[in-house]
Subunit: 401 residues, 2 copies
């Protein structure tokens, strides 16, 4: 007795090495207890009863999408600042008024856990409309022990509200809080000696991230953060090489990083180190677009060395107020030259691997979590081709819709 | 007795000269017989009963959006071609295989009116999710008399299916059909002497458009098309100055054009002529993005001379497979430097004016059509700021939802 049988379905399993997109035409999917029990051709399915049977009428099934890099929990938003800049107010003037990331820090500190969860849940619901079922959410706008823990709790609560699977990341080393102005090492002490131990103790995050950049924290400060993380049993990842080449990709790989993210300026040594360490390249074309960047991440190096590529929204209130993961498919193709198949892999198995969930989801294979999207499309490339998204006609998370 | 009263609503009337966005905070909207009966502050509303009353709880109301330039009726799609190009197949090879616009012409000729209407209705439904209530749809992939008329009928049928208000444009002079290869003037004869009279006779289009460009039709050929249009009582508009400066904007204005569209290469004389003729500048950042264009339309000239600006999706299967008008807000700001208020005007009153519907809709004012969107946002700029769209919580078209 299965829970669900989907017949007459074209399946983009996204399993590598088979047909493009790992496609099975006119296949069958069966689920049991939230897992995939059968995925394959109709003639290999031995049959059986099910609580629900669907004739998919030739629609396409894909694995639920994973958005593996977001900052989707925050107080306020920066729509007014966006407007002021376009009305000609200078960056200096906006900074003088307390704008930029620090305005988000202030608004996030001022917000309660419930307020943060409620606003994030609305944005998560928008992602879910497109088929996103797994989301990584970072802290990093609280920048005090209490406010960082509040953000991580709000992220989990927002996930419950939106009925999505949330994986949290502690990003205390995101920006220097105003009270530590001129004393970044003092703040890194706080991150390493108080925040990371508390996050680990309360099991509020699966890993630790940092922003390694000229305008943020140095490789040395990042190294201290990573050492503290590993000491407390947490894995790491890194905002690396976005605006300049600080060998951030190699630094993440050196610590067995789950991913290195942005990577516009990553060099070949970095790509090689990532491949050897299994560190996933998380590309963020939304920030590239908003910041009018022109330097592209070295896709050819990632291909050459076999680095797994993921795409994510980077959903955040400043450099990437992006709430469409499908648009990242088109932008990944248009700006970075990914193929539609690479782009779709990057939000399915690529995104799952970036969160070390590749054995559990990201492809449609027997045994994996039954996160299934049904799309009324004629071929998978349509998902990258249309700008504005094709919304799934049905979404199953762990077998349920 | 009103049909509908919306209380406690922040109203972005988009009426010029009042507050930014023509905003009325905490106002009231009342409708009767599909028209706006009252729009304004609560204390100016004399009250009355209504069939339905809504407490909008501080949500924002905006006029229904107008997408004033689309090619949303077509056979097939070009997802496979998009994929081939990203897989490294050259433009020449794709053209040799019958790709590009001619593949869409073939697929459109092969499709029945009902098939065209059904596929277009799905795409229209996606636009409507964001609050688009009025859509212009062009022919131009049939390129025979029968196939052009079929497209125009399909456009109207698709509008009925999606419950949207459709305004059709005859674009026979879109591309040279293969059977007229080497004989563009012969094809223009067909457009002027057979197609335009038939379109006018059957009242299948509100106006006539042409693609004036080195790769399409010359200013002389365009002039012949415009003369034929006007002779048959139809107004004109033009795909102008997209890839080069052929003084297309001025040509549209000379014939009293409703709009000139694209305009990346328009010069100051063109902008002045447009202002004098009341020709609207329809900007299409989706095509700019997809084609990786770098030459921006001269926004400052349009501002200087007081040309009304509209933004549209250009929804088409090749250069702009865009199904999000709200994304055009963000791209209009990011690529072209529009302010969020200019961008929102460009898809409300600007789009309405481009279709000569400015007296009927495009702002929230008593007497106009009751196309009302309710958004759960804190300020109108959010609609331009978020990439991926804020979907209206309710949509009223002509007073009904």
């Amino acid at each position: 007795m299965y829970d669900l049988i989907i017949r007459n379905v074209n399946i983009a399993t996204m399993v590598e090495g088979r047909a493009p997109y790992g496609a099975v035409l006119g296949g069958v999917i069966a689920t049991l207890d939230g897992r995939l029990a059968y995925v394959g051709p109709a003639d290999g399915f031995t049959g059986g009863d099910a609580r629900e049977e669907i004739d998919a009428d030739g629609h396409w099934a894909l694995p639920g999408f994973t958005d593996c890099h977001t900052h989707i929990v925050y107080g306020g938003n920066r729509a007014r600042e966006f407007e002021e800049r376009l009305n000609g107010v200078s960056y200096e003037e906006i900074a003088k008024r307390g704008g930029g990331i620090l305005s988000t820090v202030t608004a996030t500190r001022d917000a309660s856990e419930d307020e943060l969860a409620a606003s994030a849940a609305k944005r998560l619901a928008r992602l879910k409309m497109e088929g996103v079922t797994t989301v990584e959410v970072k802290s990093g706008y609280g920048l005090t022990l209490d406010d960082e823990l509040k953000m991580l709790r709000a992220a989990r609560k927002a996930g419950e509200m939106a009925d999505m699977d949330i994986h949290t990341t502690f990003l205390g080393a995101h920006a220097l809080p105003p009270e530590y102005k001129g004393n970044p090492d003092g703040y890194i002490d706080l991150v390493c000696n108080e925040m990371i131990p508390a996050v680990a103790h309360e099991k509020l995050a699966d890993c630790v991230d940092a922003f390694c950049e000229g305008i943020a924290f140095s490789p040395e400060q990042t190294t201290r953060v990573f050492e503290a993380a590993i000491k407390h049993g947490l894995r790491v990842k890194l905002h690396a090489d976005q605006l300049s080449d600080l060998s951030g990709a190699a630094l993440s790989a050196k610590f067995g990083g789950m991913s290195a993210d942005h990577l516009e300026h990553t060099n070949e040594a970095g790509a090689k180190a990532m491949a050897e360490a299994g560190t996933v390249a998380v590309l963020l074309p939304g920030a590239f677009y908003v910041l009018k960047d022109t330097k592209k991440p070295p896709i050819d190096l990632f291909r050459k060395h076999g680095v797994t590529i993921a795409l994510a929204t980077d959903a955040n209130p400043g450099s990437s107020p992006v709430l469409s993961l499908q648009l990242m498919l088109h932008m990944g193709c248009t700006f970075f030259g990914l193929t539609p198949e690479e782009a779709l892999r990057a939000i399915t198995i690529g995104g799952a691997r970036a969160l070390r969930l590749g054995d559990d989801r990201g492809t449609l294979e027997a045994g994996k979590r039954a996160d299934i999207l049904l799309f009324d499309i004629t071929e998978p490339a349509e998902l990258a081709y249309y700008v504005g998204g094709a919304f799934p006609v049905r979404i199953f998370t762990a077998g349920c819709d």
